[in-house]
Amino acid sequence: MSTARQLKLNLFVYPGGHHEAAWRHPDSAIDRVLDIEYYQDLARHAEAEKLDAVFFADGPSLADNIRYASRFRLEPFTWLSGIAAATSRIGLIGTASTTYLEPYNAARMFASLDHLSKGRAGWNIVTTGAPDAAYNFGLDGHPVHADRYDRAREFVDVVTKLWDSWEDEALVADEDSGLFADPGRIHRIDHVGRHFRVRGPLNTPRSPQGRPVYVQAGSSEDGRSFAARYAEAIFTAHQTIENAQEFYSDIKRRAAGIGRDPSQLLVLPGISPFIGSTEAEALALKEEFDELTQPAYSLDLLRRLLGVDLSGYDLDGPFPRELVALEGDRADSSRSQLVLDIVDREHPTIRQLLHRFAGARGHWVVAGTPEQVADEITDWFTTGAADGFNVMPPWLTGGFDAFAEHVLPLLRARGLFRSEYSGSTLREHYGLTRPPSGFADDTSIERNLA
């Protein structure tokens, strides 16, 4: 059994799959996307393959055009607890917004998920990039990037204090004396800050992991400094190994710079694999999906990212680079920059760019044989570009079935991925330490127990 560094692999679930036209493909399970058993089956399969976690993206708004794609979202806390009940080992990572939740409610729901999954919860911390969301919460406009991150930092601090507000030893449960908990080990947090005033304590005892795993997914400048300070795993989008290496070394350096152990921060880029028995077969499969895309939808997505409306342009003409000048929030958006980088590097036609983006919204799409895909993964993993990956099947369930059946055995044969779980919590799968309560060292508190 190899003791070498191991890949961390999540299954990143989009209802029908990550390719924007996945729902139209004959093999996609579009009729099951509101059925919890579909997601329970996917999670069970991922668990049988010993993946680290399943992950769901989220945002509290509906994009304004549902004609061409299934764009709804089940609410992640209720969804994940339904999956927790059907699984026993795999991690469960949900996305929750620091802009549109209250920290007390968020802390409690993640602590609850961690309890009922016996230590498998992770929180993908987002500030919510979609401007539409603001209008669902009484705001006149989208809060600016820097303000959202300022609130996010305070939000995470409050949530952390709430998770720590019950020390691990707080539960006494002495049936004879009738003492249930030791009030001296349950603490008000008395937080007073710029955005929040929260007294605490949390009304949920400290959860199995102490704190659910902190995940972050933005790669902007604000996002990077936030991640370096708080994140234990980073989900990121890179098109080339060079960009991924640059990001990897930058974020690990930032973490070390503020005194953190860089091994306690995992970099997990997205990968969306099309797998065929030959490279030509894999490329043909990708082409099959790209042909199902609908330009009106893809152009709308591009308009949101770049601020230019290209409807009416010749799709097979060159992309009009001169029209794009990123401003405001888009200038801060790592995803918008990623699109421009593709344009500058590859000079695609508009249609080529749309197809490029249709695969996984800017994540890395590979098409090849199982060996080729395993080679790419190995390459990124061993050259300082990744600690593992968010696996983003182009369609479900077949896109994941192919990865599990053909690529995972190769990675296992190379000693790069586990054959069995060695732990039971998400922290254990990821090799992260369990944090003590920040209140545990507080000796100034009078103990109620002699």
Partner: protein, 451 residues
């Protein structure tokens, strides 16, 4: 012999860690970590489903009650708990409490719609306004908003939630692979709500749920609470100590429902009862006494003092309540429970110690102690007297008290034609005999309405 066509009871199991009796956790049978153990609650739900009960229910408040020394404190967030229970059950309704004061309508409407999808149409929401300054201080406020303001916000919150739940037509997403049309933009619309408390554009980011909207439950019995219930609630949980009080409440609430133009039969009134069941009456009484002796009176007195807005030392254990307590009108917190406790103590001339014993079982809900036949008789008596459409069953000890009720009382009720022997439908609305709401915006399609 079965009596056909008798009006049927609705029975809900109100679940709480090791049971409703505050000392239940100290019994040898009790799992002291039940409050965070999902399997405990899954088992309880399965027991209730075995008895074909309408639903299970969790109370909730976003605050840690401060007497953690005395009884199990800290709980799982109930909507999260419900979907984990949904995965372990098939038919029973799933009701969770959530606060309109400390949530945003978009988030909460979405969460309950998700529970409804995940459970296949079994979700219910007990709408509360959350009394008390302690919860307020977890959400940036110094004190709770005034009672009237909380209820006004609750009414607007419900209006927003109803609009969001209707923001998708039932047939909005044909998902036609061949034509590439997933959804119909004309059948999903913004709600553009602009009110005193909320401005919400919508639409919801989730298709309309199996029940159209989750079942709406309400549990406050103050004047404001009854008005809210008359307008919105489809089931009401209430604490009533005597059949006369319960009849009065029942008549009052049904009349208010009629006054706002609703069919009174679309609102089911379920008083809470704590059944303490023994094979013989003396065995039941022995169990009740055993529990009461495990109460730690100094903690119970502190809690009573908080409810009554007095100092604990103003409540000597062996004397009656002080004569100069405030009027209900002066209370900004849980108004109706305050009145119930004071009335109970005065009517029965209870000492503080006796009052604590009475409240320890069900915090003001009525306790029925006896054999299965005696408990069934009591339920039938209230039901036939026009005091209830059913009951909120609050076992003193869990799981044993729920098992005793399901295995020994329910069969008697079934035999008397008072309760179903099997589920007739699959959604919570069907169990309660309530129609699936028509979409306020949409063109109702017959198959969707009858689904």
């Amino acid at each position: 012999m079965t009596v056909i066509d008798r009006r049927k009871l609705h029975l809900n199991a109100f679940l709480m860690s090791t049971g409703h009796h505050e000392a239940s956790w100290r019994l040898p049978e009790s799992n002291v970590h039940a409050n965070t153990d999902v399997r405990h609650f899954q088992r309880l739900a399965q027991i209730a489903e075995r008895g074909k009960l309408d639903s299970i229910f969790f109370a909730d408040s976003p605050v840690l009650f401060s007497d953690v020394g005395r009884r199990p404190a800290g709980s799982l967030e109930p909507t999260v708990l419900l979907t984990a229970i949904a995965a372990a059950t098939e038919r029973i309704g799933l009701i969770a409490t959530a606060s309109t004061t400390y949530n945003d309508p978009f988030n909460l409407a979405r969460r309950f719609a998700s529970v409804d999808h995940v459970s296949g149409g079994r979700a219910g929401w007990n709408v509360v306004t959350t009394a008390g300054p302690d919860a307020a201080r977890n959400f940036g406020l110094e004190d709770q908003p005034a009672h009237r303001d909380r209820y006004e916000r609750a009414a607007e919150f419900l209006e927003v939630a109803y609009k969001l739940w209707d923001s998708w037509d039932d047939d909005a997403a044909p998902a036609d692979k061949a034509s590439g049309v997933w959804g119909d933009n004309d059948k999903v619309r913004p709600i553009d709500h602009a009110g005193r408390h909320f401005t919400v554009r919508g639409p919801l980011n989730l298709p309309r749920s199996p029940q159209g909207r989750p079942l709406i439950v309400q549990a406050g019995s103050s004047e404001d609470g009854k008005d809210l219930a008359a307008r919105y609630a489809e089931a009401v949980f209430t604490a009533q100590q005597t059949v006369e009080d319960a009849q009065e409440f029942y008549r009052d609430l049904k009349n208010r429902t009629v006054a706002v133009g609703r069919d009174p039969d679309t609102l089911k009134i379920l008083p809470g009862i704590v059944p303490v069941i023994g094979a013989t009456e003396s065995e039941a009484l022995r169990l009740e006494r055993e529990l009461d002796e495990l109460i730690r009176p100094e903690y119970a007195r502190a809690q009573l003092a908080r409810t009554l807005r007095v100092r604990p030392e103003d409540l000597p254990l062996d004397q009656r309540l002080p004569a100069d307590l405030p009027d209900e009108d002066e209370i900004e917190g849980a108004k109706s429970r305050y009145t119930l406790i004071v009335t109970l103590a005065r009517r029965e001339q209870l000492t503080v110690r006796e009052l604590i014993g009475r409240l320890g079982g069900g915090r003001g809900h009525r306790t029925f102690t006896g054999t299965p036949e005696q408990v069934a008789d009591a339920l039938e008596g209230w039901f036939d007297a026009g005091a209830a459409d059913g009951f909120n069953i609050m076992p003193a000890v869990l799981p044993s008290g729920l098992e005793a009720f399901v295995d020994h009382v329910v069969p008697i009720l079934v035999q008397r034609g008072l309760f179903r022997s099997d589920y007739a439908g699959s959604t919570l609305r069907e169990h309660y005999g309530l129609p699936r709401p028509v979409n306020r915006y949409g063109s109702a399609t017959p198959e969707a309405v009858s689904a």
